[in-house]
């Protein structure tokens, strides 16, 4: 009997009932612990025990209903997810893909969609007892994937919802996740004296029990959802590419609160437990190793990485005989294109100094600006432009900066990466003139808010862990060539900038200057309670 998407839908009611029983036992334990201090005779009275059990049952029931019935709304609210913007090209594509999903599932479930305003790369699905379901993708992931890749992600998440395992995970996350996020807040905001208190100990015990819950959340369901996604989209490569991409990026650790991680397509916090196999990891981890997932998908596509390499070699080998060196370049959709001659490379509209380019056999990929021959292309594109009078070089693309007008003053701009270089003395002037030439658009405000929130948690993290574990290479100063210092604009305005201490200039990446302006204009300040 072939399985349709309709047949797959099965309710896993007994598991959800199990959660309820666990919750009740927890409450019973709490009540018993507090009553242990009571005088002895009372414990012997049977009615007292009946009363205790009823109380625990009621408390568990109320807790269960309040957290499980509206779980989707809770998830959406706590991640600040918004419905997609109808006027936005990429959001409209997302809405279309969700519509397509309703077609393939025979309109069986009404699935909402939402966009999480975060630059992290992740996607999640949630469903609750009232029958609501939502698929949410972060702005970062949505903007960086091609259409087939978004289709694959949506199909994966949709299968979680249609097969019913999403309901189970959402209920678990919303019942027990509340404890763990409360714990995290306590850990950040309290001083040490709280650690000894009985309430804290109790919460700690509950948190450990919550981790045990992961045992109920099987790793298998991710494999199943991957397989179903391929069944729907017939495109295993797109999903493999996405997973590969996700494994390299920031998946939202610190932003997507713990407790929600089991709803996500990849675990926001990359742990060694997730990446290993065996009995214990299978039992305790909620996500299978990404490598293995990619392997399975590549096998479905009958592609192996070695095979791809040999094909690329053969293709370049045919033409290499007596022609100039061939280049392969990675296009904005993260796909290798080629082979090109240097001349053809020059006509590609998307080629920028930061594009990854590989020569000949495709062995060593480098940024385009590092190859002197390709660099010539960029120099030629700028040649004859009267605005090059600065003599300054973009620290990220290594191309000449152009001087430009901005809020009535002069700044230096890179025409490739859209970063800006501002002399420190001009920054207050620019901030004061915010909104004169260019208003704070909704996009910039949302971006600024999410960057602020992300940097806030990172700032806290840095203070706690004292020291950045993996620094990104520092930029050289465009003037004096010494490494620039990277930090926040100020402790109240958490926008990351690069500064040169001796020349008194500041480098802003794309949109960062505008975000800083909007932050100050709209008084978007970090939450003091968390930041301190």
């Amino acid at each position: 009997m072939p399985l349709t998407f309709i047949d797959i839908e099965r309710q896993k009611n007994w598991r959800i009932a199990l959660f309820f029983v666990i919750l009740m036992v927890l409450y019973l334990l709490i009540v018993v612990l507090f009553c242990a201090a009571l005088p002895g005779p009372l414990i012997m009275v049977p009615q007292f025990w009946t009363f205790l059990i009823t109380a625990a049952f009621l408390a568990a029931g109320i807790h269960f209903w309040f957290s499980a019935a509206n779980a989707v709304d809770t998830v959406v609210r706590s991640l600040d997810a918004r419905p997609p913007d109808k006027d936005d090209e990429i959001h409209r594509m997302f809405v279309n893909i969700i519509e397509e999903l309703h077609v393939v599932s025979g309109n069986k479930r009404n699935i909402r969609c939402a966009v999480i305003p975060s630059l992290s790369l992740n996607a999640l699905a949630a469903a609750d007892l009232k029958g609501n379901a939502v698929i949410a993708i972060t702005e970062g992931l949505l903007s960086r994937l091609t259409r087939p890749q978004v289709e694959a992600v949506v199909a994966h998440e949709a299968n979680h919802i249609l097969s019913g395992d999403c309901l189970e995970t959402t209920v678990a996350a919303s019942i027990f996740g509340a404890f763990s996020s409360a714990m995290e807040k306590v850990r950040y905001s309290s001083s040490n004296r709280l650690f000894g208190s009985p309430a804290f100990l109790l919460a700690w015990v509950l948190l450990q029990l919550g981790y045990l819950l992961n045992m109920f959340i099987s790793r298998e369901r991710e494999y199943r959802a991957d397989a179903a996604s391929v069944r729907m989209t017939r495109n295993p490569l797109a999903l493999a590419e996405t997973l590969h991409f996700l494994s390299r990026g920031w998946r939202g650790a610190g932003f997507i609160g713990s407790g929600f991680e089991m709803l996500c397509i990849v675990d926001p916090v990359a742990t060694t437990l997730d990446e290993t196999e065996g009995f214990i990891p299978d039992l305790l981890s909620t996500h299978p190793p990404i490598r293995k997932r990619i392997d399975i998908l590549l096998r479905m596509a009958r592609v192996s990485i070695a095979e791809l390499d040999s094909k690329a070699e053969k293709r370049s080998g045919d033409k290499l005989a007596d022609s100039p060196p061939n280049y392969f370049a990675m296009n904005p959709a993260q796909k290798w294109q080629g082979p090109f001659t240097a001349g053809e490379l020059g006509t590609l509209p998307w080629l920028s100094p930061l594009t990854w380019v590989a020569t000949g056999s495709g062995q060593n990929a480098e940024r385009a600006w590092k190859d002197p021959l390709i660099n010539e292309i960029f120099l030629r594109r700028l040649a004859g432009d009267p605005r090059i009078d600065s003599g300054l070089i973009c620290p990220s693309c290594r191309q000449p900066l152009l001087s430009a007008a901005y809020e009535g003053t002069r700044i230096f701009q890179c025409s490739f990466c859209a970063g800006t270089l501002v002399e420190n003395g001009k920054i207050p002037r620019i901030i004061a003139r915010t909104g004169r030439d260019r208003p704070c658009t909704e996009r910039l405000n949302a971006l600024a808010r999410s960057v602020l929130r992300q940097n806030q948690t990172r700032n806290v993290y840095r203070k706690v862990s004292a020291g950045n574990p993996n620094p990104v290479p520092l930029f050289p100063c465009p003037r004096c060539k010494n490494p620039m210092y990277r930090g926040f604009y100020s402790s109240a305005h958490l926008i990351e900038v690069d500064r040169c201490g001796s020349c008194g200039i500041t480098w802003f990446d794309q949109d960062e200057l505008e975000m800083l302006q909007c932050l100050i204009e709209n008084r978007l300040l970090p939450d003091i309670a968390v930041a301190v």
Binding site: T4, F5, N96, V103, S105, M232, R302, S304
Partner: protein, 186 residues
């Protein structure tokens, strides 16, 4: 006594007949409902094509042949009836559209035109919806056919002359199996 037992068996047999009959009817309605869904999506596609042609016509005057093919394929698809002929006409249209999109790649003006991009996204989405509706339809047809043919349903289905439903065949060129290399190196 024997009469009572016989009566009981008869009642059970009739009940059993009703259950199977109703099950078959439900499945047949599912199939027909999902066929309507394909129809909806096909109409959506037919409505979008004139817009697309009108938008790209100015920029693509040298490709009149390609445009004509799309227009005539659309006209044929609109007129077709029944799964078999509809599938054929739609496959022709898919091919003509694929050709048009390939040719459009050569016109940088078109690729940066907001209207064209929007129409292209709508058409891509529609193509997907058609494929997905077809997937659902074929799944349901397979279920229905199995239900018709298994014992004892086949007795009921032949008794009430249930007809089998046709599959919506996939376009020919997508059927070409990708070259499979079984010697995958690890």
């Amino acid at each position: 006594m024997v009469g009572l037992i016989l009566l009981g068996i008869l009642v059970l047999a009739i009940l059993w007949l009703v259950v199977i009959y109703n099950g078959l009817i439900a499945r047949r309605n599912d199939v027909q409902g999902s066929w309507k869904q394909i129809d909806v999506q096909l109409n959506r596609r037919h409505d979008l094509i004139p817009n697309l042609v009108a938008t790209v016509k100015g920029a693509m005057e040298f490709e009149q042949d390609t445009l004509d093919k799309v227009i005539s394929a659309r006209a044929k698809a609109v007129g077709a009836t029944g799964p078999q002929s509809k599938a054929e006409a739609e496959n022709m249209l898919t091919q003509a559209l694929g050709k048009l999109f390939a040719v459009m790649e050569n016109y940088p003006d078109l690729k940066s035109n907001q209207n064209v991009l929007q129409l292209q996204e709508e058409l891509t989405s529609t193509e997907n919806r058609i494929a997905f509706a077809r997937q659902l339809y074929n799944d349901l047809v397979a279920n229905y056919r199995t239900a018709l043919q298994v014992f004892p349903n086949n007795i009921v289905s032949s008794l009430f002359s249930f007809k089998t439903e046709e599959y919506f065949e996939a376009p020919v060129e997508t059927k070409a199996v990708p070259a499979v290399n079984l010697s995958i190196r690890k």
